[in-house]
Symmetry: C2
Subunit: 212 residues, 2 copies
Amino acid sequence: MTTKRRSVTPDPRPAAAGRQPRDPADDVRQRLLSAAVAVLREDGFHALTQTRVAERSRLRQSHLTYYFPRRADLLMAVAETVASQMQARVSVQSNGRPLDIDGLRAVLHAQLADRELPRLMLALVAAADEDARLGAWLVRFHAGIAAMLAAALARAGVEAPADALAVFQATLVGLRVGGLMTGARPAELSSRLDRALDHLLADSSRDPGKVA
Amino acid sequence: MTTKRRSVTPDPRPAAAGRQPRDPADDVRQRLLSAAVAVLREDGFHALTQTRVAERSRLRQSHLTYYFPRRADLLMAVAETVASQMQARVSVQSNGRPLDIDGLRAVLHAQLADRELPRLMLALVAAADEDARLGAWLVRFHAGIAAMLAAALARAGVEAPADALAVFQATLVGLRVGGLMTGARPAELSSRLDRALDHLLADSSRDPGKVA
């Protein structure tokens, strides 16, 4: 992906210019997080260990355990980063204009080929049984994805009822988990996603000023 | 659940009568499995340990480790048992006639309240990363659920295209995983399931001889 990392970090402060970050602590955390995302993307979920991420970041492991005391802390931060990157791709097209429905469809298709975010999420759901903080985080994360989808649809001129959107989100989750379970080809998953999106559009009103 | 265990076990041999099972080995395995399902239902997924199941079955733990050498073996067998129980409920109504669509809908609604099968499946999906046998089992399990749904729909006079059925199955999976993630109330999940089932019916042809 060549998308620039504009508005990707959850940190509301403007990105530091050049080699002089405003806050060294944020810089260390960000280096660790970038290393973790790179490990996840290149080597997969099982490589996402504290040792491996520390090595990749070229920082001492003590830094990692300071910012992410438990593996779950690292997984949550990585999931947020991946979701923010997805949000950035959904929010703007390369030409800077909002995505239309076909653009959104293409972004969602691309997502289906990725097996690492679903693996990450499953690990977090499993860990939530033993960690109450994680339960609350998962509720917020799930709601954040729903809000992102609703906003992307609204920008494309589609007003989706909450229940129809919830069904669509469930289908996305199920396609990704099912893809993990069965190793279904991305093309199969894409054709199912298209059908689910058609259902969503049929259940939604469209803004006649925006959609031909 | 008061459903009798007819045709529930994957074993094709007829059930042994009374206290004299035909094959003592099958009886031991069945006792262990019944104990495991009871532990799962009553105490939840995290109680499903080899020690706990052995205690509950009143058999020595060596029996358990003989039949289910690894926890994954126990989880697979329990998932198959739970799925067979579901299949038994989908196949016949209490009066012995096939379910119509509303009957199938009611069975699926009841499923949504259960959080233990999704937990079990997530654990198996996570473990599949490290156990190739499990990957093949998950593919078969997923296909088995699809076949069960297709058969139930056909008995209710609905011919669902494979792709529409796959979308519906993905939505079911996503609703159950999402329910686990967010603690959504069963009523919310049911209303989403109804919408997904409406989509499936709209995408299917109905047998005019069977459906009014």
